[in-house]
């Protein structure tokens, strides 16, 4: 009986480098660093970043919805509205000291915003590198819609708006009539200024477009895909965007047109 030695055929030449794999020019790859730590490595890929964007986007969607629902109390009158604002601070009591949960949520939101924006900025850079020379003739898009192609602009508008919104109604420096602790009056005073109302309306339109693509895109990025309810994803995104747009825009609109007053 003969014994043949087992020889692995896998690595006779100890792996191959790029030059070896194809002794031919393919154009330079896009430079990317792949860190060793699994979390950083995951983050280093575009698929990983999109996953982070989807999850942070989901959190932001939740916030936007809750924020709108809360603010619609505007229509119930001053006391309801201000009570709601107080309640937010009390949230979590007595398990937690006052405002701790609110601050926790705020930090979470800041993190979600931060990750969402950083990932988006990095993806945009990747995509610029992926097509350094643009098409020289007019593109005729079939599926990519206005919303999907303007995500980075609607995103920037919303981000800038958030800063303005904070300065307007949280910190007060963008609102000459700002009275700390009197949210209802602050809102009405702010919205009664026509330019401000326009800013709010435009920004919320941008937000709606952003959500229209984002809320759908989220499902794809998370891999939530099932032909049985795929169609629902579009309806969900469209409905969500419409609800947010109508709810949020109604407030400045009704105030600036004088329907809702102090």
């Amino acid at each position: 009986m003969t014994h043949t030695q087992e020889v692995s055929t896998a690595d006779h030449r100890g792996g191959a480098d790029d030059a070896d794999r194809l002794a031919r020019y393919t154009g330079p790859p896009i430079p990317v660093r792949r860190p060793r730590h699994p979390v950083l490595r995951f983050w280093s890929t575009a698929v990983g970043k999109k996953w982070v964007m989807a999850l942070s986007g989901l959190a932001l969607l939740g916030f936007v919805l809750a924020h709108m629902v809360g603010n619609l109390k505007l229509y119930l009158g001053e006391s309801h509205f201000n009570e709601y604002a107080e309640w937010l601070r009390d949230l979590g009591e007595p398990a937690l000291p006052r405002t701790v949960l609110l601050w926790g949520m705020r930090l979470g939101l800041i993190a979600a915003f931060g990750l969402h924006i950083v990932a988006a900025a990095q993806l945009t850079r990747i995509n610029h590198k992926a097509r350094p020379v643009q098409y020289q003739s007019h593109r005729d898009y079939v599926a990519a819609n206005f919303a999907s192609r303007t995500m980075r602009w609607t995103g920037v508008i919303v981000a800038l708006f958030v800063l303005f919104h904070l300065a307007d109604l949280t910190w007060g420096n963008a609102n000459p009539d700002f009275v700390p602790g009197d949210p209802y009056d602050n809102v009405i005073a702010s919205f009664q200024r026509v330019p401000v109302a326009i800013i709010y309306i435009v920004a919320n339109l941008a937000l709606a477009f952003h959500i229209f693509h984002g809320a759908w895109s989220m499902f794809q990025s998370l891999g939530w895909n099932n032909p049985r309810w795929n169609a629902v994803r579009r309806y969900f995104a469209a409905t969500f965007a419409a609800v947010i747009a109508i709810g949020n825009i109604s407030m400045p609109l009704l105030v600036v047109t004088g329907v809702v007053t102090k």
Binding site: T9, I30, A143, N225
Partner: protein
């Protein structure tokens, strides 16, 4: 019929390029778009001008060689159709049509309309296979593959590697190509042992050459084989799973 072609001419990879306009008069509407270019090239050669370089081979929509951006759309206006299968009767008489090469960093232009798509080979080399050395296979019918799985795998495997997905994608991403390759192999029982190493290898290699998928869905519409972006969702999901799974205990290659 008459057509005006605005064709991108570029002498070499680093040469500057420009559009040249060619008036094609009285061409037959039964011609394919590539035959229109054959006619154009014969005319050019007759005038002593260099013919337009463009990739093509099978001319039946299966080899994936042909690649033209026609009127702002990858492979032209007809859905589910490669450039070679586009016939002039689908175009409008008298139109002016811009024809450009695929544009992406991963597809450097070689000349005129011809681009280098070897980056796709790099992706497959990185993990687009099932390890099955010749001679080691057991009887084919010992592996049961549910018909649904075989059909779904075939839907993905129909990819011809033409690069229209990259060309059409506003981000220059190759997600549809990679997802199709990945899904073809990973929907089959044979593809399970390497499933999660494969997804990581494919994603990382793809991103060395191409942009990121932001779910425009444009690729699906440009794909001559109408491959669904559902496969991209599968790729995304499995990529995350690959990070979370304890592969040793789920019988997966690490």
């Amino acid at each position: 019929m008459d057509l005006n072609l605005k064709v991108w001419r570029q002498a070499g990879p680093d040469a500057p390029g420009r559009f040249e306009t060619y008036a094609m008069r009285g061409v037959s509407e039964d011609m394919s778009f590539l035959e229109l270019f054959d006619v154009l090239n014969e005319q050019l050669e007759g005038r002593g001008e260099e013919p337009v370089a463009f990739d093509h081979d099978c001319r039946e929509g299966i080899c994936g060689s042909c690649a033209m951006m026609i009127g702002g759309r990858a492979h032209g206006p007809e859905t589910g159709t490669a450039t070679c299968q586009l016939h002039l009767r689908k175009l409008v008489d008298g139109d002016t049509i811009a024809v450009e090469p695929w544009r992406a960093a991963g597809f450097p232009i070689i000349k005129d309309l011809a681009v280098d798509r070897a980056a796709f080979d790099r992706i497959v080399e990185a993990g687009g296979y099932i390890t099955a050395p010749t001679g080691s296979a057991r009887d084919a019918n010992e592996i049961l593959v549910p018909k649904e799985a075989a059909d779904a795998a075939m839907d993905a495997a129909a990819c011809i590697g033409c690069g229209a997905c990259v060309a059409a994608c506003p981000n220059g991403a190759a997600q549809l190509f990679t997802a199709a390759k990945y899904s073809h192999l990973s929907l089959l029982p044979q593809g399970q042992p390497e499933r999660y190493t494969r997804v990581v290898a494919l994603v990382e290699e793809t991103e060395r050459w191409f942009g990121s998928c932001t779910n425009h869905g444009e690729c699906e519409k440009a794909c001559p084989k109408e491959i669904s972006i559902d496969f991209i969702a599968l790729l995304n999901r499995d990529y995350v799973k690959a990070q979370l799974k304890n592969r040793a205990l789920t019988g997966q290659k690490r």
